[in-house]
Symmetry: C3
Subunit: 302 residues, 3 copies
C-alpha cells in the first residue's frame, strides 16, 4: 500500500482490507506510537466536517505528526479563482500526504493523479468515502469476530448513500447476505443489484424495517433526508417508517450490532443509545485507529 | 481535582483555588514542561473567541499536547442538525479532555454529565467562565501577594457580567470588601447581594466611579454594552460615566492594580495603558499558566 | 537579525539577504531539524490565504514548533470591536513570535512597534510581503546560481503588485537589468522608476510580452485583475495580451525560469506547466525553507 493513494474502497484488495484491520488492531493496543515525528500532513476540507476531520487529526496527532490545512473553502485560495490543480500542486510542497474532502465527485481521483504525494479521499461528494468504509469493516470485525458469512441490513437512503454502496462492495468479498430496507424512492440502484446478481450474492429488498431485522448480524442505519424527495408529501409519508426504536430490538439476535456513519438526525431514537446493541459511538472511535493504519501504511511506516 | 470537570467556579473549594494558584506559579517558573506528550485535547468553540481559545491552545502547546477542534459552529456538524449530545459523545472518542465554549447556558454542565472524558467550561453564554475566574484570582494573588482582606471594586455591567459574578463568589471566601459601581440598569442582582448579606460580607453600591475607587486594592473593569439597555437614551446618558482615565488614578492606592477580562472597547482609556497600575495585559498572560495548572490537574499530571 | 521584526524587504541589507539564502539552503538539505521545540508562534491571518499561511505553518511544524492563531478575522475578537493594539498585546502573551497578514497597509509595522515579541509581516494590504520577496530571491539564486547581473522581466500589474515592487527593490542591489511589461494603466509607478534612475540601474518598458522576453533570465508573472481597471472595456482589450503561452518560450534563453507568486488565474497558460522553464510550483516549495530561515534567524536559533 506504500505511496498508493486511497480514493475508492475498490482501490484495495480483500487481502489489503484484512491487513489494514490487523494494523488498526495494533494501534488500538498502542495508539501513541510516535511514528509520524517530523511528518506534515495536509488536511484540506473544501467543505466542513466535524467527525471525519477531527478523527483524522486525532489519529495524526496521537502518532506525533503535524497538520496544516483548512476547514472550509472560504479560508482557501479557491476564493481567488485558483484551480484545484494549482492548489493541490502547491500544497504538495507543504506536506507528505494530503487528506482531502471536496464537494465534487471525482475531485480526489483527479488530485491523486497530479499530486507528487499520496492522497487520501475523505469524501468526494456523493461518490466515495473509503476510510469510512474501512472503519465500518473494522467495526464489523470487532463486533462479530469475523467478516465472513454475515447477514447485513442496510437501512435508509440506499440510492444516494455513499457509505452503504461502499460497504456493500467491500462486504461482497466475504460471502455476505444483504437486506436492503428503504423507501421506494431511495432504493438500491440497479447497478449495485446487478453486480450482486453477477456475483451470485443473495439480497432481499424490504420496505418494512421491523420485519427485515430479526436475522441481521449488522444493522447499518443512514439518514433519510427530506431534500432527496422530489415530492415532499412522499417524504412525510415515509419519514417515520425508517426510525429504529429500542422496542424493536428484542426480536433481534444477541450478537447484532447497530452501526451508523453519523451524524444522525432522528433515524435512531435516543432510547436505543443505552442498549448494548448500539455501537455507533464506539464505531467512531474505531475510525481513529483505522485512519492511523491507513496513513502509516501509505507512508510506509507499517 | 483528577478527572473532575470544571464547569463553575463553585465546583472548586477554597483549598483547590489555592492549590491551583501554587501549580500556576510552578508553570510560570517553567512553562515548557513536556507533560502532555501524546495527549490530545478537543477545543470546541461553538462561538468565536480569540483570547480564551488562543490562551488554552498556547497553554496546551507549550506542554507538548496536541489539539483538535473547531473555532466556530459553522465548521462543525451542528449545521447538519446533529445534537450536542452526539457531538460530545463523538468528540470524546478523539480526545482526552474537552475544552468547550457554547452560547447556551448549561450546555457545558450537560456535556460534562454525558462525556466519558472531563470537560472544561470555556464560557457557556452569560453563565460561567471558571478558568477566567481562576486567572483573575491568580492575578490578584500575584499583584497583592495575598487573597485575604482585600477591597475589590467591580465596575460596569454587574447585572449580566459572568466574570464579576464568578469573581465575587470566589473572593467571598477571602474576607473581601466589595464596591459595586454600575449604572442603575446594570446593578448587581439581588441574588448575589443576598448571598453576601447571608455571609455577613460587606459591600457598597455606587453610581460614581471616581468616588468609589480610592480605597480599592483591585479595580475590575468590564464593558457596558449598548445592547444591554432597554432604552438607548439611558445608555447615552451613562456610557461615559464608567470610563477609567489616567487622571483618576492619582488618588488610588499604590498597590492598586486594574484588571479587565478583555476585550475592552472604550471603558479603559488608552492613556491608562502605560500606567504601572494597569495590569490587564499581564493578566492575560497569567491565563496561560493557570490553564496549564487546570488541565494538568484534571489529567492527574500535577 | 535576532529579535528584529521583518516588515519590509528594505529592513534587511544585501548581506542579510545572502545570509538568509545560505540558511535556507541548509534547511533544504535538512528540513526537519527540531529547532523550535517548545516554541509557540502566533499565526494571525486577518484575511484568508492558503499558500502563505500553509507555507509558514509547514515551515514551523517541520521544525517542531507549535502554532496558535486564526485563519480569518471572523474567528477573532476583532468582531467584538477590539483594537489591533489590544489584540497584538494580548497575543504577544501567548507566543514567541507573531506572523501576521492584515488588509490595512502599515498594520504590521504598527504591530511591530508595540509588540514585545518580533513580528513577521505576511502581507499588509497592497504594501509589503517581504517573505515572498525573500523566497523569490532564493528561487532566483537556485535557478541562476547567482543573483548578480541578471535580466529580470516583470510582467502584469506593475502598478499595484506588491511582489514586483519588493523584488525590484531587492534585485537593485545586484546589478540587474529590468524589463517592465504591463498595460499602460498598470505600469510601474514613477517613484520606483525614479529610484532606478537615481541608482543608474537600466530598465525598459514594454507593452508587448513576446518582444520583451528573449533576453530575460527571469520572467516574473503576476495577475492582471479586472477590478484594477477604471474602464472595463480597457480590461477586455488587454486581458489576453499578458498571457504567457508555451509557444512563446522557444525564443527564450535556456537558463530562463518563470516565477509567479501564485495563485494564478489565467496569465500563465496551463500548457506552460510541463515546460522545464516553468518554476512556479518549485518556487512555492522554496518558501518553506526560506520561512524556516527567517523564523529561526529572528529567534536567534541560526
Amino acid at each position: 500500500m506504500k505511496n498508493k493513494s486511497l480514493i475508492s474502497i475498490t482501490d484495495y484488495s480483500k487481502a489489503e482490507y484484512l491487513r489494514l484491520i490487523e494494523i488498526a488492531e495494533e494501534f488500538e493496543q498502542n495508539p501513541k506510537q510516535q511514528l509520524l515525528e517530523g511528518v506534515v500532513i495536509a488536511s484540506l476540507f473544501f467543505e466542513p466536517s466535524t467527525r471525519t476531520r477531527l478523527s483524522f487529526e486525532s489519529a495524526i496527532n496521537r502518532l506525533g505528526g503535524k497538520i496544516v490545512g483548512f476547514t472550509d473553502a472560504a479560508s482557501s485560495s479557491v476564493k481567488k479563482g485558483e484551480s484545484l490543480k494549482d492548489t493541490i500542486l502547491t500544497v504538495s510542497n507543504y506536506s507528505d500526504l494530503i487528506v482531502m474532502r471536496h464537494p465534487l465527485e471525482g475531485s480526489s481521483r483527479f488530485a491523486s493523479e497530479i499530486a507528487p504525494v499520496p492522497v487520501v479521499n475523505a469524501g468526494d461528494g456523493a461518490n466515495q468515502h473509503p476510510t469510512q468504509c474501512m472503519l465500518d469493516l473494522y467495526s464489523i470485525k470487532k463486533t462479530q469476530n469475523t467478516l465472513d458469512n454475515l447477514n447485513v441490513a442496510l437501512v435508509g437512503d440506499l440510492k444516494y448513500g455513499r457509505t452503504v454502496h461502499s460497504l456493500m462492495m467491500a462486504m461482497s468479498n466475504f460471502n455476505a447476505t444483504f437486506n436492503f430496507i428503504s423507501p421506494d424512492e431511495l432504493s438500491m440502484p440497479d447497478t449495485y443489484k446487478n453486480y450482486l446478481d453477477d456475483q451470485g450474492i443473495p439480497y432481499y429488498e424490504h420496505d418494512n424495517l421491523e420485519e427485515a431485522i430479526p436475522h441481521a448480524d449488522i444493522i447499518y442505519m443512514t439518514r433519510v433526508q427530506r431534500e432527496r424527495f422530489s415530492d415532499p408529501i412522499e417524504y412525510e409519508k415515509v419519514k417515520n417508517s425508517y426510525v429504529l426504536r429500542n422496542s424493536m430490538l428484542d426480536q433481534t439476535k444477541d450478537n447484532m450490532r447497530i452501526l451508523h456513519p453519523l451524524p444522525r438526525v432522528n433515524e435512531i431514537h435516543e432510547d436505543v443509545d443505552s442498549n448494548p446493541k448500539a455501537y455507533y459511538f464506539q464505531q467512531a472511535l474505531n475510525g481513529v485507529y483505522m485512519r492511523q493504519a491507513i496513513i502509516s501504511s501509505i507512508l510506509g511506516l507499517k
